[in-house]
């Protein structure tokens, strides 16, 4: 007996390594759902499991899955009990992540075992093909995306399904196959979609005689019936006993949900919705009536009732009838030819029918088709031809589950890797068909793949670049215009506002004031711009400069426009004893505008600037526009080079304000502080009289300035 390489186990090891590396990846709300179920099953009596609703993620899987969670929670209690707290919503410590992700990995052993059984059960000549199939299922991007990133336990559940399918291969294990499927149904009821195929297959090949459909094998019927009853009793018995069946059913089958899931599953109803969207635009031409309330709801696609604007609404009954109809077609054939391959085909087609026509189908349900179909794909080239578009479209339809940038390369590269690897391998392994192929369908599937690949590339890469998902960030209203100080703007608004503001400042700020203000603030070490503005504003409020436009208050209370022509400064005078003799003041020659054209000699008190021109806000904008400051604490403000050149302001930073000097001084200070006693504070004051970071009551000061800012805003 020859072995095939790589073996299933080897693939499992390599895949496990990758999956462990993916532990910190994005996880969907399903992660929290399952954590919450761990908490529910661990901390509540069974009676309350299906009534608990602290979290919005209530338990809505059948009892076996709840029992499964209970078992896991026993291990979790040993590992990290904090995650089992019902109230700790959205708890995701790394221990929780490790535990839950590891539980997915470990329970996937079921899948590995089932695939191993599958390869063992196949005939020697098809061993190679079975091995390829098994590895393809094991490495399926579906499991990687849904289980190991998005977070679910599909590997485990599909393991049971495959095991059940494998057991159906041999006549002697038909019973256990059926019972295993019953157990699977009690784990997750989504597999009800496949139940009709099981029902027909077991009925025909187990309960009825192979020779005649009229001869019932009562022994088998009883065995199967009691088995299934026993399983159902274990699962649902306690809840029936407590009279909770209605509650359980309402949790399992939430019919209040809409036709389409939040993300449209790529099925008939998605196309239906799409056509409806188009019809909205065509309706005026076709004179159809449009339901206005529905226009908003369809694209939103949120969980809830989906209603259509133009096309008739779909009641659940219609979806059932359609599903059942399309399932019946293959079931009839299965009934008359109950071979294993027909059976797997029927399982696949039942999955197909329910996926395409079902009510509220998840995109994840595509695995219900892909996984059973994989078992048949290598039967011959016709099957492979049908499998190829399914593999491409099915896996790509899972992409929207992961939408974060970090996981994008994983999902896309892994899927491409899988498709290239297995489509190539399958292509080599699939034998030629005994029947001729249908030319058109064959070409159609080729064309489908040819179109799909560029389309996928466009959807996942180019579209976002052109129409800008990235721009969402800039559209958030969390930017601040640095000139006006308005916040809560979008990036573009803030940018416009800043451009506008700086233009305004450039044209409005009095020319005569620019140079003196700049000279004043050059190398200032007041680090907060608000304080700097206040400081400068106070100083310049009553100080005027030649060339300024002012309003003069002439003796009789008359207000006259004028221009400051000259300024004479008189310094402060002190008597020999140090007391103040005369305060510093200035006199201004003001050339009054027409009609008088006189000149007046005035002091600062009798001059007024135009209100709008010299405001704190304007000053702030002007300073923001013309100054820069390095990032270290205590760095001086420096006038921007081009501005400084215009006004011939020296830009040579005084040596004591340079970074090196500063850090040296700081070091020295620290040294003396460490060495000296309590009076270092004053030493420091003496040596660094202007250091701005000296804020003994920093918090308070900040508060005041904030209040000031607020007040200033209110005044405005």
């Amino acid at each position: 007996m020859t072995h095939e390489y790589p073996s299933i186990l080897q693939c499992a090891v390599a895949a496990t390594a990758l999956k462990i590396l993916l532990f910190p990846a994005y996880k969907s709300t399903d992660f929290e759902v399952h954590r919450n179920w761990l908490a529910i099953t661990h901390s509540l009596p069974v009676k309350e499991w299906y009534y608990e609703k602290t979290s919005e993620w209530t338990l809505d899987y059948p009892p076996f899955f709840a029992y499964f969670e209970w078992v896991l929670s026993q291990a979790a209690a040993l590992f990290h009990p904090e995650m089992l707290n019902l109230r700790a919503l959205r708890y995701d410590s790394w221990q929780t992540v490790y535990f839950q992700r590891a539980s997915v990995l470990i329970t996937e052993g079921m899948l590995i075992y089932a695939l191993h059984r599958y390869v063992k059960s196949s005939s020697p000549e098809s061993r190679k093909a079975s091995q390829a199939t098994a590895v393809s299922i094991l490495l399926s991007p579906g499991f990687l995306i849904i289980d190991h990133v998005h977070f679910q336990y599909n590997g485990f559940l599909y393991g049971i399904l495959i095991l059940s399918l494998v057991l159906a291969r041999s006549r002697s294990t038909l019973l256990s196959s059926g019972l295993l499927f019953a157990i699977l149904l009690c784990f997750k009821h989504i597999y009800l979609y496949l139940a009709p195929a099981y029902f027909v297959f077991l009925l025909r090949s187990y309960c009825l005689s192979p020779r005649s459909i009229w001869r019932i094998k009562f022994g088998n019927v009883i065995k199967l019936g009691t088995g299934i009853l026993a399983i159902c009793a274990t699962a649902f018995g306690p809840f029936v006993y407590w009279g909770q069946l209605d509650q359980l059913v309402s949790r399992l089958f939430p019919f209040s949900r809409g036709l389409c899931h939040a993300y449209w599953a790529p099925n008939v109803w998605a196309i239906y919705s799409f056509v409806d969207r188009i019809m909205i635009h065509l309706a005026p031409y076709l004179r159809l009536s449009v339901d206005e309330t529905a226009v908003q709801s369809v694209t939103r696609g949120l969980v809830g009732d989906t209603s259509f604007a133009v096309l008739p609404n779909i009641p659940p009954r219609v979806t059932f009838v359609l599903t059942l109809f399309f399932q019946t077609i293959c079931l009839v054939r299965l009934f008359f030819r109950p071979t294993w391959e027909t059976f797997v085909g029927a399982v696949t087609l039942c999955g197909y029918a329910s996926f395409l026509f079902g009510w509220h189908v998840h995109e994840k349900a595509i695995l219900l088709i892909i996984i059973p179909f994989s078992l048949l794909a290598l039967k011959d080239r016709r099957y492979l031809g049908a499998f190829r578009p399914l593999a491409v479209a099915g896996h790509v339809s899972l992409f929207p589950l992961l939408f974060t940038a970090q996981e994008f390369p994983i999902k896309s590269v892994y899927t491409i890797f899988w498709l290239v690897l297995f489509l190539l391998t399958f292509d080599q392994l699939a034998p030629a068909s005994t029947q001729p192929r249908v030319f058109l369908l064959d070409r159609f599937s080729l064309a489908y793949i040819a179109i799909a690949i560029p389309l996928i590339a466009y959807c996942s890469l180019v579209h976002a670049l052109i129409f800008g998902q990235k721009r969402d960030f800039y559209k958030q209203k969390k930017f601040t215009c640095t000139i006006t100080g308005h916040s809560g703007l979008s990036f573009f608004d803030a940018l416009d506002s800043e451009m506008e503001g700086s233009r305004e400042v450039n044209s409005l700020f009095p020319d005569a004031l620019r140079e003196p203000v700049l000279r004043k603030v050059q190398f200032s070490t007041i680090s907060r711009i608000d304080e700097l503005v206040n400081h400068v504003f106070e100083e310049f409020k009553h100080d005027f400069f030649p060339g300024e436009q002012v309003t003069a208050l002439v003796g009789d209370g008359q207000k006259l426009e004028g221009t400051v022509r000259e300024k004479a400064k008189f310094p402060e005078l002190r008597r020999p004893d140090g007391s103040l003799q005369r305060k510093a003041f200035a006199r201004y020659f003001v050339k009054l505008a027409e009609p008088s054209c006189d000149e007046a000699l005035l002091d600062g008190v009798h001059l007024i600037r135009e209100r709008k021109v010299f405001t704190k806000q304007m000053l702030r904008s002007f300073l923001k526009n013309t100054l820069t400051r390095e990032a270290w604490s205590g760095a001086p403000w420096i006038v921007k080079e081009r501005v400084a050149k215009d006004y011939r302001i020296p830009t040579e930073v005084p040596s004591e304000l340079q970074y090196g000097a500063r850090s040296a001084a700081t070091k020295e200070r620290v040294a003396t502080k460490n060495a000296g006693a309590g009076d270092t504070f004053f030493d420091y004051l003496a040596s660094q009289p202007r250091l701005p970071e000296l804020k003994p009551a920093k918090g308070q000061k900040t508060k005041i300035s904030l209040q000031e800012v607020a007040k200033f805003r209110q005044e405005k």
Partner: protein
């Protein structure tokens, strides 16, 4: 990539089956061949009719997935405010290169600020840990690796395996093994650095030299040096080889002249943006150092002691730039070693055999220089005397090990440098046989293990264990498999008893160390005890690796018959 190229491997594959495909094990009883280790099993289906052009993309995608997934974990300095580590350092470098007037602008940073200008807003963005920034930074490492390193590995291995007559399938196995090297993946994609770009240039240089294009070899090597000065580890061997090709088999002065010229030109080209930028700035009257923060570099000071330079002259800024960058790049102003490095000095110092801080830095520097020169002498002399292409990886590996063990200011991450030429030996003749695989695997596992204290700081424990164990398992090495050390005798290509005992005791030490490190607290007053143990074991192992590479080089060069047997005894 249509018919002409895809046909070549197919023709060569015939030679495969008859030749000694070393990753295949033939059952003595049944005569059925089977893969010798799991990596060979993974590529088993590619043995048949699948074209190499289908296998290569699959390999690249698979190793890419592991790389990207490694990036999901922590990086150097995640959430550690004062120092922030390498991730922040690289981001800050991008920020500087994108903003400052010195006209050397890094393309990556430009693209990044096109994507999201907020990441690189100078001065406001220190210590930014935005998740999308992380993705971007990871992507830059990833892309630079796939643009430089990966093509270089492919091309080099193609040349090398062709030179050594290795089949296409063994080539694929070796390629995957090299690309899955855990140490490189963990440092670049986990810890966050751009080593692979430099390593890629070195490989490109090596493959140019293999192909006989010496001038291109020089250009690529200068590029490697220009990307990361660490490539100096290889420089003596490369120099000796190039010199050797000019001397033997006959003296070739024009070639020597051309090589020298191209090297100088490449250096000029490399520094020209910096120099031109500073010239342009001085033309615009921007002082070279507006804030006056930077002190004059010591080299410049020593130049100015001899020659008078005017600060106002036109040539002053470029000289300042040059000396400043040399001062920044060559870390003579730092200590003998940083943290704990498994090399000679740190082992000497930390083990308490001999404390080194009692000597003046200059003495230690001189001692390091002497030891390094002494240890690089043998490989350089051998490659100078026998400048044969197939010896290149051996010489580079030996020389880099010598540097790593003896030189000044070495990082533990620098062990990637000797590892690379050593690991590419997998693609050579008998590269995948038990003995070579065991040695290369030993060096790789050991070196990754010495990185563990560093990786632990970055919260990279899980990827460390996953990737190291995965690689060891793929290559059929301990601790996952003992097949190499249990199996066949020397006659059938197995390992010597001495080698077996040596390797297994090292592997055992590593496993025990992990157990101790995880569960036993360090004794009081010796918080670094486990790290010191790690350093000691690592340094000893690396010393052995140096000797093995040297022995391999001497043996392959067939330079001395007597030396061969002596070295052999020493090596294994």
């Amino acid at each position: 990539m249509s018919s002409p190229s895809s046909h070549r491997p197919r023709r060569r594959r015939k030679g495969d089956d008859t030749g000694s495909a070393s990753s295949v094990e033939v059952d003595a009883v049944t005569g059925v061949s089977k893969p010798a280790f799991p990596l060979a099993a993974f590529l088993w289906p590619a043995k048949g009719s699948i074209s190499q052009w289908a296998v290569l993309p699959l390999i690249l995608m698979a190793v890419g997935l592991f790389r990207w997934a490694t990036g999901f974990w922590g990086y150097s300095g995640l959430g550690k405010p004062p120092m922030h580590g390498d991730f922040e350092a690289q981001r800050h470098w991008m920020e500087i290169t994108a903003h400052l007037p010195v006209s050397q602008c890094w393309v990556l940073a430009k693209i990044g600020s096109f994507v999201n200008p907020l990441w690189f807003a100078l001065h406001t963005s220190r210590g930014l840990d935005d998740p999308s920034l992380k993705v971007y930074m990871r992507a830059t490492v990833f892309c630079s690796e796939y643009f430089v390193y990966v093509p270089a590995v492919i091309v080099f291995l193609r040349h090398y395996s062709r030179l050594q007559g290795i089949g296409a399938w063994d080539y694929s196995v070796a390629l995957t093994a090299i690309l899955m090297q855990p140490a490189t993946m963990l440092i670049d994609h986990g810890h966050f650095q751009y080593n692979t770009v430099m390593l890629g240039f070195v490989l490109a240089s090596m493959s140019s030299m293999l192909a006989g294009r010496y001038l291109w070899g020089c250009v690529f090597f200068v590029a490697a040096l220009g990307f990361k000065q660490m490539a100096l580890f290889y420089a003596p061997a490369v120099f000796a080889y190039l010199l050797g090709t000019c001397i033997s088999p006959r003296l070739d002065i024009p070639r020597l002249f051309k090589i020298a010229l191209v090297t100088v030109l490449a250096f000029v080209l490399l520094f020209s943006p910096l120099l031109l930028g500073s010239l342009y700035d001085s033309y615009r009257n921007v002082p070279p150092d507006p804030s006056g923060v930077v002190q004059s570099p010591p080299l410049l000071t020593s130049i100015r002691e001899r020659v008078t330079l005017s600060e106002k002259s036109w040539y002053f800024p470029p000289i300042l730039q040059l000396t400043q960058s040399i001062h920044r790049i060559l870390p003579f102003s730092r200590g003998l070693f940083e943290d704990k490095v498994p090399n000679l000095w740190c082992a000497l110092h930390a083990s308490g055999v001999h404390k080194l801080h009692q000597y003046a830095p200059a003495t230690v520097q001189r001692a390091a220089l002497a030891a390094t020169s002494l240890s690089i002498m043998p490989p350089c002399l051998v490659i100078l005397a026998r400048p044969r292409r197939e010896l290149l990886p051996w010489a580079l590996a030996t020389c880099a090990w010598a540097f790593f063990l003896c030189s000044y200011q070495v990082h533990e991450k620098s062990s990637l440098l000797p590892l690379l030429p050593m690991t590419v030996l997998l693609g050579g003749q008998r590269g995948l046989t038990s003995s070579t695989r065991a040695w290369i695997g030993f060096a790789n596992v050991l070196s990754t293990w010495t990185l563990f204290p560093l990786l632990k700081k970055d919260e990279l424990r899980v990827p460390y264990f996953v990737l190291t164990l995965l690689w060891a398992w793929l290559m059929g090495l301990p601790p996952t498999s003992l097949a190499l050390y249990r199996g066949s005798s020397i006659a059938n290509g197995g390992l010597r008893v001495g080698t077996r005992i040596l390797h297994l005791s090292f592997y055992a030490a590593m496993v025990v160390w992990h157990g101790v490190e995880a569960f036993v607290p360090t004794p009081k007053g010796k918080p670094d005890l486990w790290v010191v143990l790690n350093v000691l074991v690592g340094a000893a192992g690396f010393g052995i690796c140096y000797l093995w590479c040297l022995w391999g080089l001497v043996a392959k060069s067939e330079i001395v018959g007597i030396g061969l047997s002596r070295k052999k005894a020493k090596g294994s």
